[in-house]
């Protein structure tokens, strides 16, 4: 039985449906990420779980306790759920120590010790405790918000885009630190974000949300390599989508014969490859001859961006083209290491590794 069970959750704001039937199961102690474009309803879902708002329909059950059932809802302050908001939402009129200790009773035993301990856990210096929120950097503010929420020993921690206000470098390290911290504390966590890389790297379970419903829920690897449809595929990363005919575990496509992840047979299908599955090997026009099974292309554009280099490759020969005219002239856009990327005009040989995913 899962720790958090959400079923049939609906929420309307006037005529707009923010949530149109959401179901989700979260295992105890696990990390789940909800990812989607802005306005897809992911923050609304978080607010319903936290208890800031009541759903129109549906149930939320946490550890066997019904938190919301239709319009009836347990108020936020009786739920024991921690929340870290986008900008931390620190109380500007209190010191950092008072912010962290906000939920602890004033006369509580060892209150100060507990605050210092929490600050230590989230990696804050002790000297910072006497300061005010506006004197802290964005990353420090987020750490305080986390410590403040952890002070309550919550059963469930909700993170509402807590890293989006941070610099790119800090974001990755904060994400890692927070994930390790919550894991160590054994707190079940739900992260809401619009950043797919963040969602994929943070959680064991990722839910892609669009227009108030989950389009797909699964492990990061499953979602990335076997997305249900083209929209999910492209939302989670760059994708090369090709027409193909499939049979016996292989596809005949403009890129030749490629292994696929199904044994179905269909004359018309669409397969997806991630660009990193395609390898480039330098060769020359002379090297093209005499190898009929091989696939060659010419680099038409090359854009250097430091560590990576984006190259456009136009196919020179099609092994088995069902839609040759359509695809033949559309170059493949591939992101390669900046170190040895081929230059414009060079001839390359294309190889495909791994299996292509077939959209159902």
């Amino acid at each position: 039985m899962s720790f958090l069970e959400i079923s049939g959750l609906h929420k309307h704001y006037g005529p707009v449906a923010a949530l149109a039937g959401v179901d989700l199961n979260v295992a105890s102690g696990s990390r789940t990420a909800i990812v989607g474009p802005s306005g897809c309803g992911k923050t609304t879902l978080l607010r319903l779980i936290a208890g800031f708002e009541a759903p129109d329909q549906g149930r939320i059950v946490l550890d066997g306790e019904v938190l919301a059932n239709g319009g009836a809802a347990v108020p936020a302050h009786r739920r024991g759920i921690g929340v870290v908001a986008q900008d931390g939402a620190l109380f500007p009129h209190l010191t950092i120590a008072d912010n962290i200790g906000f939920g602890l009773g004033r006369g509580e035993d060892k209150r100060t010790e507990r605050i210092v301990e929490l600050a230590y856990i989230v990696g804050l210096d002790k000297a910072i405790l006497k300061r005010r929120p506006h004197e802290l950097s964005g990353g420090q503010q987020q750490r305080v918000a986390l410590a403040r929420a952890m002070a309550m020993k919550p059963r469930l921690m909700l993170l509402d885009e807590p890293f989006s206000a941070l610099d790119t470098g800090l974001r990755a390290s904060m994400r890692k630190a927070v994930a390790e911290l919550l894991e160590a504390a054994g707190i079940t966590t739900i992260l809401v974000t619009h950043d797919q890389a963040e969602a994929l790297s943070f959680a064991a379970q990722v839910a892609v949300m669009r227009d108030g419903i989950f389009s797909q829920v699964g492990t990061p690897r499953d979602l990335y390599l076997k997305p249900k449809d083209r929209m999910i595929a492209e939302f989670l990363g760059d994708a090369i989508i090709l027409p193909a005919s499939i049979s016996g575990g292989f596809a005949s496509s403009p890129l030749g014969r490629i292994a696929v992840d199904t044994n179905d047979s269909r004359d018309i299908a669409r397969i997806m490859l991630r660009p990193e599955q395609i390898g480039l090997k330098r060769t020359s026009r002379e090297g093209m001859s005499g190898t009929p099974d091989m696939l060659f292309g010419e680099v038409t554009e090359s854009e250097f961006a430091g560590s990576t280099c984006t190259v456009a490759v136009r196919l020179l020969n099609n092994a088995d083209p069902p839609d040759a005219a359509a695809i033949g002239n559309t170059p493949l856009i591939l992101r390669k290491s900046g170190m040895d990327a081929p230059a414009v005009g060079e001839i390359v040989r294309l190889t495909v590794s791994g299996k292509a995913h077939v959209f159902t």
Binding site: R47, A50, G51, F52, E53, P75, A76, H77, R78, R79, G80, I81, G82, V83, A85, Q86, D87, G88, A89, L90, F91, P92, H93, L94, F102, G103, R132, P133, H134, G138, Q141, A145, R148, A149, A151, M152, A165
Partner: protein, 539 residues
């Protein structure tokens, strides 16, 4: 005939609202790259500020001249102690009651699902359109036996609570709802969230509003005369009427000024240097309104009772007297003359105050620095002094030093300019801040002389703000009387003076048309203030 101080007008609110923004903004937003101001501008600003300090200097000078013995004898006597007790009790009772009332009203109109919240919000501001002495007049004719401390507290709260309501409701609108969510997630129930998160963040608004109410209680005259409650201001005017500008009146004025400074200092102490603005970035979420449920009826009852007391009583009374007086009380020649004189004084005073404020306003936006902050501080302090003190100072100075100027148009206009300079300054500064300095520079680079460049860009663009400021000053002058009575040329009879003289003769029916005209002229400006406060809060 008694003079009165009718400074209880809507426009002072601007000062409080701006006071709020000044302390609310992070320092780096207030400071702009320093730029040198033209010498003639600095000179003008310094002259105006020095002039503004004259009444204060006068009090000190009189004290020094009178000698310690006499000062001691005049200040440390039972009568002063009695007044001090009265004034302190009034402040200690009226201000907290007004705070509690205003917080409750502001929360109900801004953060609850009270039916008709927008209408109620406007009705909570509307009492500002009624001068304090008209409130008092309404109450005393409805309940003739009303007098003493508790009557003073009742009418003071009713007349002045909007000064607290407006900044508090604006602050409530600006609060980041994420903070309340965070507190709820940390296990706090709604009441404790309000107490520990919402209320502390209203501190700035409450401080600013309380200061404004407190200063008005010190300065108000007419209100307390009607209900026979002695304060320093009433005592100073009594003293002035019996002994003209004797040392007794001046020393009382000295004590009153000290009280003002105590209030200013208290406010600074309580307010502190803290920043209550939003921490972090991102757009604030739309605030949710709390469902009142079964509390709806009692909440509505609070608003209905407040509105009845603050608007119903004055309007019913004025209406009743107008009906009772019939057509006879509308002596059109007399009313027309009073209206004409009032409008002339109001417009001339407003023009002078605006012109005087212009150099200061320009410097404070375009070339801020320590000198500018000092000069501006002078102006605000003088603006917080009661009208009676400024009038007393100008009477004494003109009589002793420049007798030909005593009771001339010049002197009364100077008094108005001194009293209402902060209002003009606040509006001007806000509008100059909206005119980008690049335009002025562009005009200079296109060959305009500095003054010409200033005229064709900044002054043109800040004209609407200047006009709003002038209107607020004019409103203040229209309802002012202590200074007008003491300084205006013989034969002057403004609306407020006529109202006061008729009601002093217990001819309440004849006074009613004047009260009606004053309220009718103030209402549109109060509406303007209400709209502005909404806009300042971003909604």
């Amino acid at each position: 005939m008694l003079p009165l101080d009718g400074s209880g007008t809507a426009s002072d609110l601007m000062q409080s609202a701006v006071d709020l923004t000044r302390s609310g903004l992070p320092p780096k937003m207030r400071r702009r790259p320093q730029r040198r101001a033209a010498p003639w501008l600095v000179t003008a600003a310094v002259l105006v500020s020095l002039l503004a300090l004259v009444p204060l200097a006068f009090i000190i000078w009189i004290a020094v001249q009178t000698g310690w013995e006499t000062v001691y004898a005049l200040v440390f006597r039972p009568r002063v102690g009695e007044l001090l007790v009265n004034t302190t009790l009034l402040e200690l009772l009226a201000v907290p009651i007004a705070i509690v009332l205003s917080v409750a009203l502001a929360w109900l109109t801004e953060r609850s699902d009270l039916p008709g919240a927008r209408l109620w919000a406007w009705l909570c501001v509307a009492p500002l359109a009624i001068p304090a002495f008209v409130h008092s007049y309404a109450w005393i004719t409805m309940v003739p036996g009303l007098h003493g401390l508790w009557a003073g507290v009742l009418v003071s709260v009713i007349a002045y609570f909007p000064f607290l309501y407006l900044p508090i409701s604006a602050a409530l609108r600006r609060l980041d709802p994420a903070l309340e969510d965070a507190a709820a997630a940390l296990g706090l129930g709604p009441w404790r969230v309000f107490w520990r998160v919402v209320l502390p963040q209203l501190r700035l608004a409450i401080c600013g509003g309380s200061l404004l109410v407190g200063l008005h209680l010190l300065a108000e005259y007419g209100l307390y005369v009607f209900i026979r409650f002695d304060t320093f201001t009433t005592a100073i005017v009594d003293q002035f009427q019996s002994t003209f500008n004797g040392p007794a009146a001046n020393m009382l004025a000295g004590v009153l000024v000290t009280c003002c400074f105590v209030l200013l200092g208290l406010e600074v102490l309580v307010r502190g240097e803290e920043r209550y603005a939003r921490v972090g970035s991102g757009a604030a979420r739309y605030q949710q309104r709390t469902r009142l449920g079964r509390a709806t009826v009692p909440s509505l009852a609070l608003l209905v009772v407040t509105t009845l007391l603050a608007l119903g009583v004055p309007f019913v009374t004025i209406g009743r007297w107008l009906v009772a007086g019939g057509a006879d009380v509308w002596r059109l020649d007399e009313i027309g003359l009073a209206l004409g004189q009032t409008l002339f004084l109001a417009l001339a005073g407003a023009l002078l105050a605006t012109v005087a404020a212009m150099p200061m306003a320009w410097i404070s936006i375009r070339a801020p620095g320590p000198l500018q902050r000092l000069l501006e501080g002078c102006n605000y302090i003088v603006g917080s002094l009661p009208g009676v003190v400024i009038a007393l100072a100008l009477v004494t100075i003109t009589v002793r030093i420049a007798l030909p100027l005593y009771q001339t148009l010049f002197t009364i206009l100077v008094a108005y300019a001194l009293m209402f300079l902060p209002r003009a300054l606040v509006s001007l500064r806000a509008s100059i801040a909206q005119a980008p300095v690049e335009l002025e520079r562009a005009a200079s680079s296109l060959g305009r002389r500095p003054l010409n460049a200033l005229w064709s860009t900044t002054i043109r663009l800040s004209a609407p703000g200047a006009a709003a400021g002038m209107a607020l000053v004019a409103l203040g002058i229209m309802n002012e009387l202590t200074a007008t009575q003491m300084l205006a040329p013989n034969g002057t009879r403004t609306l407020a003076m006529a109202f006061w003289s008729y009601s002093g003769e217990i001819d309440y029916a004849s006074a009613a048309p004047y009260a009606f005209i004053m309220v009718a002229m103030s209402l549109p400006l109060t509406w303007l203030l209400y709209i502005q406060s909404k806009r300042m809060a971003g909604r």
